[in-house]
C-alpha cells in the first residue's frame, strides 16, 4: 500500500494505492488520524488505485469516520473499483460513509 497526501484548496485528499489488508491497515489508520488532527474542513480518500481491501482496512476507515465526525471534518471516499465497492456494500458502509463515484464529485461535495 502507498499513501500520498495532497491539499486541494482547504480539503485534504489522501491517495491510496495497492492492498489495504491486515499488514497495511494500521499505517492507513495512523495517516488518517494524523490528517484529521490537522482539522481540515473535509478529508477525501481516493481509492482509484486500491486493488484490494479486507475487513482490517474497513476497520481503519470506520475509526477515521468516527474520529472525523467528532472533529467536525467531512469524511468521504471516492473512485472505488468494483471489487472494492462490493466489500463496502456487503459491510453496510454505504449508509455511514459518503462514497462518491469520482474525485470531482467528492471535491464538489466537500466544498
Amino acid at each position: 500500500m502507498e499513501l500520498t497526501t495532497v491539499k486541494i484548496g482547504t480539503v485534504s485528499v489522501l491517495d491510496a494505492a495497492g492492498r489495504i489488508d491486515s499488514v497495511t491497515a494500521k499505517s492507513l489508520e495512523e495517516k488518517l488520524l494524523a490528517l484529521i488532527k490537522e482539522a481540515p474542513p473535509a478529508l477525501v480518500v481516493d481509492f482509484a488505485k486500491v486493488d484490494y481491501i479486507s475487513s482490517a482496512g474497513l476497520r481503519a476507515l470506520l475509526v477515521a469516520a468516527k474520529q472525523s465526525k467528532a472533529a467536525k471534518c467531512k469524511f468521504a471516499l471516492c473512485s472505488l473499483k468494483a471489487q472494492v465497492r462490493e466489500v463496502f456494500d456487503i459491510s453496510g458502509f454505504g449508509t455511514i460513509i459518503a462514497i462518491h463515484p469520482d474525485r470531482a464529485s467528492a471535491l464538489a461535495a466537500a466544498a
Binding site: 489488508d21 479486507s54 465526525k69 459491510s91 453496510g92
Partner: protein, 138 residues
C-alpha cells in the same frame, strides 16, 4: 484429473499476500472468473488473519495448512490450524443498520466470509480446527 493447491503457511500476516497470486493462478487455470478469485482471496485473508490474530496462546511459530480444490461444481478451501477451538459460525452477525456512532469497528471478517461463500462448515478434529469454505461455480 483433479489438481489441488496445497499450501503450508506460517502464522505471519505477510503470508496472505503471497498466497493471493497462487489462488489467482489456480482459478485462471480452471477458467474461473477473476471476480471469483478475488472474493475467494478475501475470504481466505479474513479466515487466516483471524487464526493468526486470535487462535494462538503462545507467541511461537505455527503452521496453517490450506488445501484448495475444485470439485463437484464448487471452489473449496480447507483450512487447518492448531489454535484454540473456534467455530466462526457461532459469531453473532454485526448490526449493519446502526448509525456511525454506534457501529462496532469489528466483526466484519466473519460477516464477509459468510456473505461471500455459499457454504461454510466447521469441525474440531483432535487439537485442530478444520474450516471448509465453499463457493459454488456456475
Amino acid at each position: 484429473m483433479a489438481a489441488d493447491l496445497v499450501l503450508s503457511l506460517k502464522n505471519d500476516p505477510a503470508e496472505i499476500a503471497r498466497l493471493a497470486p497462487l489462488v489467482d493462478a489456480f482459478c485462471a487455470r480452471h477458467g474461473l472468473a477473476e471476480a471469483t478469485a478475488a472474493q475467494f482471496n478475501l475470504v481466505l485473508d479474513e479466515a487466516i488473519t483471524n487464526i493468526i490474530s486470535y487462535a494462538y496462546e503462545d507467541a511461537g511459530e505455527h503452521e496453517i495448512s490450506v488445501r484448495i480444490s475444485l470439485t463437484r461444481g464448487a471452489l473449496t478451501a480447507e483450512l487447518v490450524d492448531d489454535g484454540r477451538e473456534f467455530d466462526p459460525l457461532q459469531v453473532t452477525p454485526p448490526d449493519l443498520a446502526a448509525p456511525l456512532a454506534e457501529r462496532s469497528v469489528g466483526g466484519l471478517g466473519v460477516h464477509l466470509m459468510r456473505r461471500l461463500m455459499d457454504d461454510i462448515s466447521y469441525r474440531r478434529e483432535g487439537a485442530r480446527n478444520h474450516l471448509v469454505l465453499a463457493k459454488r461455480i456456475a
